[in-house]
C-alpha cells in the first residue's frame, strides 16, 4: 500500500521531466538526425545517404566557419574565465554583507533586458557615430570617426559580456566555500601569490571553473544574435548557416546535418575539457 503510493508519487513527479526530455529534447534531435541523412532525389522521393555531410566537407565555406566558430567560442570562454575569476574572488572573499549582495545583483541586472537590447547597447557604444568614437575624437586621439563594430573583436566583446554571469555564479559558489585558512597556509608555508593561486585556489575552484566554462562555451557556440548584429561580413557564425539553410534556402536536410555537426562539436569539446581537467560531470554539476 505504502510502496504503491510512493511509486505513484514518483511517477507523477517524473512525468513532466520525462515528457520534457522525450518530446523537446530526444525526439527533435532524433528527427533531425534522420533528416540529415535524407537525400532528396525529386520533390517527393527521398533516399538515405551522406550527401549533406559530404557537402559540408567539400564546401570550404562550411567547415571554415565551423572551425572558426569553435575556436572563437573557446577563446571567448577562456577570456570570460580570466575576467570573471577576479570578479568572483572579490564577491566571494573580499566583499562583505550588503556589498556582496549588491555586487551579485549588479552582475544580474543586465540580464533583465533581452539579449537583443544588450547587444544594441554595445552597438550604441561601439559604432562609428557612437560614444567611444566621439570621446576618442574629443580627446584628440582620433582624427575622424572610428568604426569599432563589425569585426571579430566586437563579436567577442559581446559574447564575453553575455557569458559573464554564467561564469561568475559557479565561481562565487565554489570560492565561497573555501576556508580562508587554506590561502593563509599557502603563504605561511612559503608560497607567493602565483603559487598560492596555481596550487591552492585554482585546484579548489576547479569544479566551478569547469561548470562555468561548459555553460559559457555552449551558450557562445549556440549564440545567434550577437555574432549577427556585431560581426562584419567576414565574421560568420555557424548558427547563421544553420538558420540560412532552414529558413532562407529551405534546405532542411542540409540544415539538419549542420545542426548535428554543431551538437557533435560541442559534445566532443566538453568531453575533452572534462578529461583534460580530470573532472567528471556529476562532480561539476552536483
Amino acid at each position: 500500500m505504502r510502496s504503491s503510493a510512493s511509486k505513484l508519487s514518483l511517477c507523477l513527479l517524473m512525468t513532466p521531466f520525462v515528457l520534457w526530455i522525450v518530446l523537446l529534447v530526444l525526439l527533435p534531435h532524433l528527427q533531425m538526425l534522420r533528416v540529415s541523412f535524407h537525400v532528396r532525389e525529386s520533390w517527393d522521393t527521398v533516399t538515405l545517404g551522406l550527401e549533406q555531410y559530404q557537402n559540408f566537407f567539400s564546401e570550404s565555406y562550411y567547415w571554415r566557419t565551423f572551425v572558426r566558430t569553435g575556436v572563437m567560442s573557446l577563446f571567448t570562454t577562456f577570456l570570460t574565465l580570466v575576467i570573471a575569476f577576479p570578479i568572483a574572488w572579490y564577491i566571494a572573499r573580499l566583499a562583505r554583507g550588503r556589498a556582496k549582495g549588491f555586487l551579485f545583483l549588479a552582475c544580474l541586472i543586465p540580464f533583465w533586458a533581452s539579449e537583443l537590447v544588450r547587444t544594441y547597447g554595445w552597438m550604441i557604444l561601439l559604432r562609428e557615430s557612437g560614444l567611444f568614437s566621439t570621446w576618442l575624437q574629443a580627446l584628440g586621439l582620433a582624427d575622424g570617426p572610428v568604426e569599432m563594430l563589425y569585426n571579430d573583436a566586437a563579436v567577442i566583446i559581446g559574447l564575453v559580456y553575455n557569458g559573464l554571469l554564467f561564469m561568475v555564479v559557479p565561481l562565487v559558489t565554489t570560492l565561497d566555500g573555501m576556508d580562508k585558512n587554506l590561502v593563509e597556509a599557502g603563504y605561511d608555508l612559503g608560497g607567493n601569490h602565483w603559487t598560492v593561486l596555481r596550487e591552492i585556489i585554482v585546484p579548489w575552484a576547479m569544479p566551478g571553473v569547469v561548470s562555468g566554462c561548459i555553460v559559457v562555451f555552449m551558450l557562445t557556440l549556440g549564440s545567434y544574435l550577437t555574432p549577427i548584429l556585431m560581426g562584419g561580413k567576414d565574421s560568420a557564425w555557424f548558427t547563421e548557416q544553420i538558420f540560412t539553410q532552414f529558413i532562407t534556402r529551405f534546405n532542411w536536410e542540409q540544415g539538419a546535418a549542420l545542426g548535428v555537426l554543431l551538437l557533435v562539436l560541442s559534445s566532443v569539446i566538453v568531453w575533452l575539457g572534462l578529461r583534460v581537467t580530470g573532472q567528471n560531470l556529476r562532480k561539476v554539476m552536483g
Partner: protein, 361 residues
Amino acid sequence: MASDLFCTDLVRRFGDHTAVDRVSLDVPAGTFFSILGPSGCGKTTLLRLLAGFDRPDSGEIQIRGARMNDVPPNKRPVNMVFQHLALFPTMSVGDNIGYGLRRKKVPAAERTRKIARVLEQVGLPGLEDRNPQQLSGGQRQRVALARCLVLEPTLLLLDEPLGALDLKLREQMKVELKHLQKAFGTTFVYITHDQSEAMVMSDQVAVMRQGRFDQVAAPETLYRDPATPFVAGFVGDNNRLSGDVISVDGDLARLRLQSGEEVTGRIAGEGIAAGRRADLFIRPESLVMNGAVPDGYSRMQATVTTTLFDGANSRIEAGVADQTIFARLPQDGSVSNLSPDSAIQLGWDPQRATVFAGERV
C-alpha cells in the same frame, strides 16, 4: 640562552578596541611557550601578528635577533598549525608536506626522502599517497605538524589545534605534542583557552586577559603563586572567598567573611590594608577537614551541600554564608559519612591561600 622570539610593546587596535595591548614576550630557543586566555582575549590576534598575517600598530617583533615587522608571512622562518589544520584537500598527504619544500626548491629526490622521514617521525610512515580526508582526526593533526616541521622553522605557531578532537584523543595528543617538541627541538608557541593543555605541555605560560599579559611563568609558579586574582581564578580550580581585611601581620592578612568567620591567607597583591575589601583564594586540595586540621591553620565552619564522587578527584560542595566552596576529599577514606546539611570544619595553611584586593563595590 638565546631567545628565538622577542617582542616589545606590541599593540594592535581594531577601531576603538585594543586587541593586543603593549605585549612583550621573550621565548628562549627550544622551549614550549603557551599563551593561555579566555576567548576574545586577543591571543589569536597576537599569533597572527607573529605569523605575519597582520601587522602591529606599534612595537617590534624579532625572531633570532632579526626584525620581522615588515617581512611577509612567506618569508618568515615561522610556520603555523591552524585551528582547523587547513590541510590542502586537493593534494595527497605527501604533496601537502612537499608543498613547502617545493617552494624552497628542494630537489625531488631529497623531497621524497624528507617527506618519508618526517612522516616516520610523527608516527605515520608510508601514508604519502593517502588523501587527507581519509585520515582520522589525530592523524590529520600529525600531518599538519609534519607539514610545518619538515621545513625546520625557527618557530612553530599552534592555534588551538587540539580543539576539534574528542576528549580522549586530546589527552593523548597533549602528551604527544610535548614529546614531539622535545624530539624536534623546535620552539613552539601554542595558544589555547584550555588551562590543562597549557599546564601539561608548556615550559612557560603567559596568561592573557583583555589584550595584556597578566603573568608569564612556569606552570607550577602560575598555580602556586598567581600574580593576579584573574590568574588565581583562571588557572586550575580555586575557591574564592570575599571579605573585609581586619588586620595585616607581616605577609599574612586576616579577613572577616560575610558570615562573620575570620580567615587568614598570604598577601599576593597590592593594596591590602585594614578596612579594604579583599578576596582570598584557596585550592580545593589545600583544604583539610574536621579532625585533621593542625594548629596554626586558618579554620572555618561550613555546611556540606553535597558530595561529588569522581574517583581520585572526589570533592565535597559546602556552603559558607552565601558562598560555595569545594574541598577535595582525602584519598585514604579518613573523611566519610558527610551527609548533606551536616556541619564541617575546614582548615588550611595560611601560606597556601592567596589574598588579593577585591574589586571596588
